[in-house]
Symmetry: C2
Subunit: 123 residues, 2 copies
Amino acid sequence: MNSPDAFNALCPTRQILDRIADKWTVLLLGLLAGRTMRFNELRRGVDGLSQKVLSQTLKSLERDGLVTRAVYPTVPVTVEYAITDLGRTLAATLEPLRLWAESHMNVIEQARADFDRRQQAAA
Amino acid sequence: MNSPDAFNALCPTRQILDRIADKWTVLLLGLLAGRTMRFNELRRGVDGLSQKVLSQTLKSLERDGLVTRAVYPTVPVTVEYAITDLGRTLAATLEPLRLWAESHMNVIEQARADFDRRQQAAA
DNA sequence: CCGAATCCTCTGGGATACTG
DNA sequence: CAGTATCCCAGAGGATTCGG
């Protein structure tokens, strides 16, 4: 068996990287790392995430063994999503990413402003 | 000033997260963290990355202050991309993500097979 | 060699409506 | 409440061509 290599387009790792390097995955696993949550709870927790995409993303996460889906036959039905042990290891890897974005927001915006000004000056 | 919050769609952090949580960013910064590289060198280094998308991604990375672009007036022209100090901090954050994908490839594929088999059984 | 520009395709994802 | 189904469109991105 050849070693996993994300730089190779044909390696399954590439596909996995594409899935997990996704803003919705980062945010959803960030929430679920805290506690088990219901569908609409997650929807409200992640602003701008449509119901369709939430549904798709959760199904992918469940398929990959990162979250579990539990249905309780109440009326109306209750569905709870919980993070798995595997998902928790990924969440731990993704959290620094969100924190980096939040802590470097100002630096990035400054860099963008500088870049745009230089472009403007060149034109 | 209100605190950065990636869960809020209107926060600039959201946009930044969207840009950095990207497979091409992960792979390109992973390469550039090792050494300065030229355009076609990067193109060859990341399999499946088209010239157009590479060009776009590099421009974004440069605008965000994560890489620098140096042009040398040789014939033909030489263009070198180097990671910045800021980019290096991000690369350090992204590397675990690529490693996670590579080291959990088998577990994920197993989970997917199990899931698909359960779906099949239910149908 | 390093791109910019053009064209064209395809699909991610929004809006809406309907079920169990 | 928690989805699935349908329609629809903007925009991502591949292929190709051209320029510095």
